[in-house]
Symmetry: C2
């Protein structure tokens, strides 16, 4: 089946977690809005007669099924492409990790948008400075420490043990983004979290992921996405 | 099976979405920390040797399985208790709605904690005023409008049509919380969203839910939870 992925065409954002899974799977997919522009998303978001429409991008069209919410897309996609073990306990664990990563991502976003997405960063700079200091000082070490501890308990270097799952790809993406957004904080924290750093490097060097990262399909990090580099926020 | 629910004992919070599902199901469960105090949660959060430990409450213990993340708990629990249809497309849709409600909930929380959970509301009042104005002015109508539109498309008054699902119980809880936290904004907005208001009232009057709400098991809304009433934030 040829999947259709719908997401904003100019940022990695939440869509990137789906892209990475599709790429690792070698799945056939059309990143629709990158080809046709952001207006390709609009029928799904603005057509009031569309039944069971998603609230926001990303969403994945698989035949007649339209699935929204990043974690929900991955929950559906992963078992079809060997990106999660078959056992139910493992699947629910991978999903739980994805949801924790989603929570982490909200906190990253809020470092530069604590007052809300409707205002520019420039209109919430003092608030961002406070929130980012709290993030790099308290929350970032807590999340990194959690995943470091999980990796220390598993044999094999992946979050679910010996085989890569979509949760590993998602953790890769968060670490890549944090290195872009908070290089000073990450340079300070990574030596204390060697397993997380190693997972990033190992996931990023897998054949299909490395090819994807080197391709034009990978949108570079930029100042419009979730991960943004503002030097003044990187304490 | 007797479930064990672990969540902070003094607030409804995220645990309440699980409690409502357990109550509607008539499931046998122990709300552990309400009986034994918050220290009952600590082994799961602080024992560094515990394998695959949750990041944060709530979590549900079902035999040997420990499941964290509210949406993930409900995903696992609902099909075992008839709180979601059997068809895969319906299950993934209910889950997607739950994740959208989870996003909404984060935005509610951030109206009084835009700078982060480590600071008291009193230490982030100006930031909260800005964020809350954006929430009640823009985001709240967007979320309410989305769910109103979904309900208008379904026959039967529930989010998945003719039968109640856990997504309905979660929407009930959000509306109840919003009425407590933002009575003025809700009084203004509810007449434009009659189906959402009707769903709240109908879910709340179901036999088991009504009995639960009237019992001491239901923790009252208070100024420590996600839904808080600060008159100055209710524009």
């Amino acid at each position: 089946m040829r999947y259709e992925l719908y997401y904003w065409p100019s940022i990695q954002g939440r869509g990137e977690f789906v892209r990475l899974a599709l790429e690792e799977a070698g799945a056939d997919y059309d990143d629709v809005a990158r080809r046709r522009g952001a207006e390709a998303l609009m029928p799904f978001l603005e057509d009031k007669s569309l039944a069971r429409a998603p609230f926001a991008p990303p969403f994945l069209k698989a035949g007649k099924l339209v699935i929204g919410q990043t974690a929900s897309i991955l929950l559906w996609l992963a078992p079809r492409h060997g990106l999660v073990p078959k056992a139910e306990a493992a699947r629910i664990w991978a999903h739980q990790l994805q949801l924790t990563i989603a929570d982490w991502l909200v906190e990253v976003h809020d470092t530069h948008h604590p007052i809300g997405g409707a205002f520019y960063y420039e209109d919430q700079k003092p608030e961002s400075a406070r929130r980012a200091a709290h993030f790099t000082g308290m929350r970032l070490p807590k999340f990194l420490g959690y995943f470091e501890r999980l990796l220390a308990q598993e044999k094999g270097g992946w979050l679910l043990g010996r085989s890569l799952s979509y949760a590993d790809l998602s953790l890769f993406q968060v670490i890549a983004g944090l290195r872009y957004a908070f290089p000073r904080a990450m340079a300070r924290l990574e030596p204390r979290h060697p397993r997380v750093a190693a997972l990033h490097d190992r996931a990023g060097s897998r054949e299909r992921i490395a090819a994807y990262l080197a391709s034009r399909r990978r949108i570079p990090f930029n100042q419009h996405g979730i991960f943004r580099h503002y030097s003044e926020l990187d304490a």
